[in-house]
Amino acid sequence: MLTSTTGYMILLIFGVFFTGLTIIMQRRSKTKMTAEEFSTAGRSVGTRLASASIIAAWTWAATLMMSSSTGFQYGISGPYWYAAGACIQVLLFAIVAIHLKRKAPKAHTFLEFIGKRFDQKNHKLMMFFALMTNIIVTAMVILGGAIALNSLTGMNVYVAALLIPLTFTIYTMIGGLKASFIADYLNTVMIFVILTIFATVVYMKFGTTTIYEGLRALPESQQMLTMASVPGLLFGMINIIGNFGTVFVDQSYWQRAIASKDSAASKAYIYGGVAWFSIPFAIATFLGVTAAGLGLNITDPDASAPLMAAELLGSVGSILFLVMLFMAVMSTGAAELTAITNIIVTDIYRKSINPTASSEKTLKVSRIVTLSFGLAMGILSVLLFNIGIGLGFVYMAMGIFVSGAVIPLTIGLLWKRATNNGCFYGALAGMVSGITVWLLSAHMLSGEITVESLGQLHAMLYGNVTVFVVSGVISIGHALISKQEFDFEAMKDQFKSFDEEEKELQLATEREVI
């Protein structure tokens, strides 16, 4: 095991490196930082940088830890279902991303679009879903990082949870979305390099035959070497349904579409999705499945990846795994933080509190929000840890809480017949009924409602499916019955950049003076 000093050093080195890099880039940049630049990165990001950023945002601590856990538990079907089940949302998101570009070319958040497409109650409800998604994901990312730091270095888990957000909050506060993109690129490259090292060492040290024979010798070998594993399939179904919410309702993915050039918006998600597939697929195959095949004595499947990394390369393996995990935590954390900031600044501050705020004032508020939320997320992670809620539980339960908004949101963007009431009650009833079914099925299957009974695959699956069925039936059904039609063309010119709004305001003031 590494020392806790190593943990502190990793936090310090990466925090200082990315903050320094952001400051240097800011100084060398020819354009002045404005509120618009801070939240949209100038809407000029190319396909490949956007792809790298999407990969980084979608590579959570859970991607590295949980995927390996599925490989360790379910055999070869685990990595596949983790990768495929969480990759298709990114691929399908390309469709809605390009439609947002067409229908609201200058929007800052997807909620800004919802506010103009639907009524106030829909805007507020979707904002609730979006903030809940961002907050849960950020807390989960920090929690994953803190647990890994604690288990590999012995670093105090609470100190780790409070220090991790500091590393990405400072550079995000300085450089905004653009800084997040650059950090995302570097983090993604680093993750690929470290994963390739692990995969190569597995081949060189053990070879595939040893692992195969080991898997065949396991008592549960029936499911370890086939895709026809029922637990694997159940996990896959939860993964597919649950992850729709965490992509479609998460502002950080919309933000990448908003920040991309028109030509890059859709392609980036296709390239990003296909490339992202390789990360959980490889790590879970080479660390999770291999750990099972080699018969390592692992009591907690969630810890299979770091333990296998240590088995492969000793302390160097642990450090490499920690660096990779920390890269994933940093980039997702920064992406979520900029997403929360954008929602609060655009949909609360500029919409309701100070609509005429200057660019300078908006930028200042953005930075304050980024800093405050970054620090608050660390505290929330500590609270979650204290309640005893783990990474796997939050990962699988998330869909029940946030997926209610997926169908209403998607049809609102793509279908002119989607209605205010249908989408509002669909999203709300979807969430309420999903939680109810989840609680009831946990009680019926285990006779009690505890974190353990709620974490069972069947209860999670019933809850997740109910959310989709109820929200879909209500929102689509109401649209079909009411036969209303919305004119998307009319809303196109209603979106303005912060800079344009400021110019218009200045002109209006000048006219008044004259």
Binding site: Y80, T208, L215, T226, D262, Y269, I270, F286
Partner: protein, 76 residues
């Protein structure tokens, strides 16, 4: 003109997104699940080679392409 291009892109990415989703979620795992196929050593080897190759190609693509993109933009 710009909207026409976006519509064209939307059609193309819809086809790719739906096509890949069908292959990844229904076609491949569906066939494997229904046949109940158990991996032979050869198939397992091929599976791990696929995971490795996919990782290396995706890593190279993601690492190098942004630089190529910057270079091409500068040349233009």
């Amino acid at each position: 003109m710009e909207d026409k291009q976006l519509m064209k892109d939307a059609k193309m990415c819809t086809r790719w997104a739906l096509g890949l989703t069908f292959i990844l979620i229904f076609a491949f795992p569906g066939t494997m699940f229904l046949t109940g196929y158990n991996y032979t050593l050869q198939f397992f080897k091929g599976w791990t080679y696929l995971a490795f190759a996919w990782l290396v190609i995706a890593g190279l693509y993601i690492s190098i392409r942004p630089w190529v993109e910057v270079y091409l933009e500068k040349r233009q």
